[in-house]
């Protein structure tokens, strides 16, 4: 057993790290986890944490930044082991609901009630995604995001095309680019959520926002097998068959920028993506930003949804406090600092809009995003955030299969409805 002493040593080492981790949860250290990995976005949080430390002497902020998809796993493990960070970023909706149901998130309603002026700063819909059964569990922190179609203005001009307003017009544009050997859409769907955006918009444009709401809340007549979902699947496959997506779309990785570099290199003309993409493009390729613009998802003729409806999120990401936190009051102060005026202004420079009232947006592109969202009759939260995790996963799986043309829209709808009937009560 030559190994034993070595293993024993690593055991001791592991024990020490555990002890260190436990120390981090003492009442004077406030740990904070977020997913802001772009340097400019990360600095905003670091600056806010320093302001918090200055205003609250004795308290120490301990930040960890984690890439998006890895973060979801890390957070789950931390909560499962009952050692979550004090302050954590989240997307509201279904996954936050799991943590709330387990009693692991601090109800911020009483804090906000005492702090009415602070709450009034935000636009009312900003608390929608983090409000569960009338109680609020998170503050809107990062951005107002709407999924829009980014397009390369130069490529459009060169080919004599204008942004399409309706579905048939979109198909014409797709055909035109296809004929020129340019991929109409860049899509990096390995993680499956980027493809889901097309489906969500089609459902809204065809059947209006109520169809999903009714299906997700199990309201009378609500079903994921509703003809609207089937029609949306059909339209999505129509797009695939027309060759609308760049080669390899179901295997490309959004997290490494696989779809953006298709845009940067003029190999693809459009991309449906959340408006955070403006900030990513500005950070990665400032030169390209000059020739990119966006248009809202086109209307489907005869559809019930209004062309102004938006799929997106107001306030995304959100910041919440875990119940395991030994100093919830200080943690609340911390998330307040993270969305204070200085942070809001800094985010504005970084092309992101915290949903506060009277935000002075000067950038014309962002003004249009803000107007799009504030004028929208409804803002549909991302399905994969809104639904319970298991159903969200199936939603993403079925949409990826629809895009891969390996299941029919009817099969996809049946699968969703079967699981929904089983787990949504």
């Amino acid at each position: 057993m030559k190994l034993a002493p070595l293993t024993a040593a690593s055991l001791v080492a592991a024990g020490l790290t555990c002890a260190a981790a436990a120390d981090a949860q003492d009442s004077k250290t406030i740990s904070e986890w977020d997913i802001q990995t772009q340097p400019a976005s990360a600095k905003i949080i670091q600056d806010a944490l320093e302001r918090f430390q200055k205003a609250n002497p004795g308290f120490k902020a301990e930040r960890a930044q984690i890439p998006n998809d890895a973060y979801k796993t890390k957070l789950k493990i931390a909560f499962g082991a009952n050692e979550p960070p004090c302050v954590f970023t989240n997307w509201g909706g279904g996954s936050l609901r799991e943590y709330v149901k387990a009693g692991q998130v601090v109800d911020l309603t009483p804090y906000l009630a005492k702090d009415a002026g602070f709450k009034e700063r935000f636009i009312p819909t900003a608390f929608g995604a983090t409000t569960i059964q009338g109680k609020t569990y998170g503050l809107p922190g990062e951005n107002t995001a709407a999924a829009v179609i980014y397009y390369n203005t130069e490529l459009f001009a060169k080919n004599g095309l204008t942004p399409p307003k309706t579905w048939p017009e979109l198909l014409t544009v797709v055909e035109a680019f296809k004929a020129k050997g340019i991929a109409p859409f860049a899509l990096a769907n390995k993680a499956k959520w980027p493809g889901s955006m097309y489906f969500m918009y089609l459902v809204d444009r065809i059947g209006g926002p109520e169809v999903f709401q009714k299906a997700a809340t199990r309201a009378p007549g609500g079903s994921f097998a509703d003809p609207v979902f089937i029609e949306a699947g059909r339209k999505l496959q129509e797009l695939v068959k027309a060759g609308a997506f760049a080669q390899g779309f179901n295997g490309l990785d959004y997290d490494v920028g696989a779809s953006r570099r298709l845009m940067y290199s003029d190999k693809a003309a459009m991309q449906l993506m959340g408006s955070w993409e403006s900030s990513s493009m500005k950070n990665e390729n400032p030169g390209f930003v000059k020739k990119v613009d966006f248009f809202p998802f086109p209307a489907v003729p005869g559809g019930k949804g209004q062309a102004g409806d938006v799929v997106g999120s107001v306030g995304n990401n959100f910041y919440s406090v875990s119940s395991a936190c030994k100093a919830p009051e200080a943690a609340y102060e911390m998330i307040k600092t993270m969305v204070d005026d200085a942070s809001v202004q800094a985010r504005l420079v970084d092309n992101r809009m915290v949903p506060v009232k009277g935000l002075q947006v000067t950038d014309p592109t962002m003004q249009r995003v803000m107007k799009l969202v504030s004028d929208a009759p409804t803002v549909q939260n991302w399905y994969d955030q809104e639904l319970p995790p298991q159903l969200a996963e199936l939603h993403k799986d079925t949409v990826q299969s629809l895009l891969g043309l390996s299941i029919t829209p009817e099969e996809a709808a049946q699968k969703m409805e079967a699981l929904a009937a089983q787990i949504l009560r």
């Binding site: 979801k72 499962g80 996954s95 149901k101 295997g251 995790p389």
Partner: protein, 308 residues
């Protein structure tokens, strides 16, 4: 008197000695047993216990559901598909990795001391982190920017320029190729070590008797290495059944589950769908499958051993 006392003292000392001799192995084994119990037996039993629950892994809200998870697993097409993929990976690992590793080992062995640089070069892939390798190969396979398709198009073979990771038909094969490339050096080193213990006089005797290089390999070296080959094959199969990293990084089990393995499926059920109970069922089933196949494999190869 004196002699009497000595006689009486001997059995006592011997008795003491004997009990000490029994205690010593126990003391020496204790750390190993304790570690095994802590890191193997306990988690294993825990995971079986969790497989009987319906639980999202958070808080005190688990529900005991008996064998319901196991029944769902038996009917779960995705799991069986993943198991099938694991078996395919195991088959191709053995069929591709071992012959290449053997060929490299033979050549390096023949080249002798002069091959040190090559040995280090060949060994490199094994030293890379799987995650870094995965990211590199994701870019190499990229259908729009990757060098593979660029080369195929430049050679006038656009028909061969496939969507390597995004097409259901190629994803598993594409990742398997990288897995093989990464693991060949491991078996190469194993075989090299085996060849190093090959007695040179045996070879000399065979050469004197007029045996060709091929005969020496097939009739003398390979039988000499059969224990090593058997170990290598077992390691390759068991490794494939538990495989996770490159698949997770390069395809995440996709597209549409085309490259899903038992381990990536387990990961997805636990961490994406929040089904800790069902995920544990998948994990436990994985343990049973690996144990069963390892046991059968050992038996079969043992029979092979006696036949030689």
């Amino acid at each position: 008197m004196n002699t009497h006392a000595t006689v009486a003292a001997v059995p006592l000392a011997r008795r003491r000695h004997r009990s000490a001799r029994q205690l010593a192995p126990a003391i020496f084994l204790a750390p190993a047993v304790a570690l095994l119990a802590m890191f193997l037996v306990y988690p294993l039993l825990q995971s079986f216990r969790l497989s009987l629950l319906e639980w999202n892994g958070l808080g005190e809200n688990s529900v005991f559901v008996g064998l319901a998870n196991w029944v769902s697993l038996a009917k779960d097409g995705l799991f069986w598909h993943a198991l099938g993929n694991n078996l395919l990976l195991g088959l191709f690992s053995v069929l591709i990795q071992l012959p290449i590793a053997m060929a490299l080992a033979l050549l390096l062995d023949k080249a002798g001391r002069g091959s040190r640089t090559l040995k280090i070069l060949y060994f490199l892939p094994l030293l890379f982190s799987s995650v870094a390798l995965g990211v590199i190969f994701k870019n190499i396979y990229d259908p729009n920017f990757g060098p593979i398709n660029a080369a195929l198009n430049a050679l006038g073979l656009p028909a061969l320029a496939k969507d390597w990771l995004g097409d259901r038909s190629y994803a598993l094969a594409a990742v398997t190729a990288v897995i093989c490339w990464q693991n060949v050096p491991f078996y190469m080193i194993l075989f090299l070590a085996g060849l190093a213990s090959f007695p040179p006089d045996l070879r000399e005797a065979a050469t004197l008797d007029g045996a060709s290089d091929a005969t020496i390999f097939w009739k003398i070296k390979l039988p000499h290495l059969q224990g090593t080959v058997r170990t290598a094959a077992m390691l390759a199969v068991i490794g494939s059944l538990r495989y996770f990293d490159l698949i997770y990084v390069m395809t995440g089990g996709g597209p549409e589950g085309a490259s899903e393995l038992m381990a990536t499926y387990m990961y997805r059920t636990v961490f994406s769908s929040f089904q800790l109970g069902y995920g544990s069922t998948v994990a436990s089933a994985m343990f049973l499958v690996v144990t069963l196949i390892a046991a059968v494999g050992m038996r079969l190869t043992k029979r092979f051993e006696t036949e030689v």
